[in-house]
């Protein structure tokens, strides 16, 4: 069977192809036009009469298809990739356990969540629409667990480059550090050997006990306590701080489907900026009333008032010294003056 190269593989080679090779390309494209007899023949003869110089090296690896440790074309592998990128990009994530929710219940919950998030007032500094990018997503627990391990134990920047063959047969240094690579697989395997004790401080070892049963994650693109509070009010209401929307304001929240769905949804934990929080911790983050801006304002105020106190304190010592000296001087002056005046009056 002739070696077939996909157009995308050849076209995406930019850096790998030499100048001499690129000049040869029009020739290769012209070849099929000569014996064109029918549409079907054209496809079959496209590469077949290629000369030796046009042969792709046997160990050539297209840059768009790097070698992988797991089969790259399976759904699970692609899920793993999407989960690792989700974990790397999402600063705030809530983890829910869902116990046999039906599709209509999911739809009702998503509807209520969207409505609640849309009601959150946008603060001036946020140009982007956060609410539309907050999603609740059912995950495959096992693949998510693997993705957590990869994100925790695999550092793509530390992978050594390997030599890869270009189309012309030359060698170029290439780094295969994607999440399905051999390097990622080995790093995870070395870190999670059966006899190796996991350090308690790692995020993975803290999150690992949560990775049981059917899970769903609620992902936020930024740490926004207002949006988190709105989501908590809908998904896991706890009356004093996070009351559920009122029946008058949101009647559809109280219909049978939404309520039965919410009863089966269980908030088990969260991950905020790489730290693991339990429910109380998540509620604490959601309870930051004025958001991050407010926290920053508080901090600035605190630092400013501290500075003010410091300057007055430092000033105070000098000031009191000056006052003491000044009073002492006036006393001395008076003492000097006093007798003189007395002498004057006496004489």
């Amino acid at each position: 069977m002739p070696f077939r190269t996909r157009c995308s593989a050849v076209c995406g080679l930019g850096s790998a192809i030499n100048v001499s090779r690129t000049t040869a390309r029009p020739a290769a494209l012209r070849i099929p036009s000569a014996p064109r007899v029918s549409a079907t023949r054209q496809y079959a003869t496209a590469v077949a009469p290629a000369s030796q110089s046009l042969r792709v090296p046997d160990d050539y690896i297209p840059p768009t298809q790097p070698p992988t440790a797991r089969p790259s074309d399976t759904r699970k592998s692609q899920l793993l990739r999407s989960y690792t990128s989700l974990l790397r990009l999402t600063p705030l994530m809530l983890i829910f356990q869902h116990n046999n929710l039906t599709a209509v219940e999911w739809a009702a919950i998503r509807r209520e969540l969207r409505a609640a998030l849309a009601d959150v007032p946008q603060t001036g500094t946020q140009e982007v629409d956060i609410a539309s990018k907050i999603h609740i997503e059912v995950i495959r627990t096992r693949m998510f667990d693997m993705a957590l391990k990869i994100v925790e134990y695999f550092d793509p920047s530390k992978v050594a480059p390997t030599l890869a063959t270009t189309l012309t047969g030359g060698k170029v240094k290439t780094v295969y550090n994607h999440d399905l690579s051999e390097a990622a697989y080995e790093a995870v395997r070395a870190a999670t050997k059966a006899n190796k004790v996991q350090p308690d401080s790692s995020v993975y070892s803290e999150l690992a006990p949560l990775m049981v049963g059917p899970l769903a994650v609620l992902t936020f693109p930024v740490v926004s306590p207002q949006h988190l509070a709105a989501a908590l009010k809908v998904l896991s209401p706890s009356p004093p701080t996070f009351p559920a929307p009122t029946r008058r304001k949101r009647p559809s929240y109280y219909d049978m489907t939404a309520q039965s769905g919410l009863q089966k949804l269980l908030l088990v934990g969260g991950r905020v900026e790489g730290k693991v929080f339990d429910i109380d911790g998540v509620k604490w983050v959601g309870g930051i009333e004025s958001g991050l801006e407010g926290l920053r304002a508080q901090l600035v105020h605190m630092l400013q008032s501290a500075g003010l106190g410091l300057t007055t304190t430092l000033e105070g010592a000098g000031k009191s010294l000056w006052l003491t000296m000044e009073s002492r001087r006036s006393v001395l002056e008076e003492a000097e003056k006093g007798p003189q005046e007395g002498e004057k009056t006496g004489s």
């Binding site: 356990q97 006990p209 949560l210 049981v212 049963g213 059917p214 934990g269 339990d278």
Partner: protein, 96 residues
Amino acid sequence: MLTQFIIEVSTRFNPFSASAKTARLFLTRLPPSARASGMSITTQLLPRNSTEPSALKIKFKDGLEMKLDCETMNIKSVVEVVDRHSRQLQKQADLE
């Protein structure tokens, strides 16, 4: 798992402890319409640093109350124990 003879399930666990697995998986074994068909399910989540053991209490229609030890039993053995009693109730119901 036979669930039509269970009238009450109450669980209590700390999701960050490994022993919560059994209780959490038991909740997933209940059918979607469990609450609608009259089963009362209560779940209490403990804070992360609590060392209280996970608890799973099941009440049957005939009044039997089961307290299952989640620390030592896995979900398979819990289902086995629950099903054993449910099958007895099923037999009685069939004879009547």
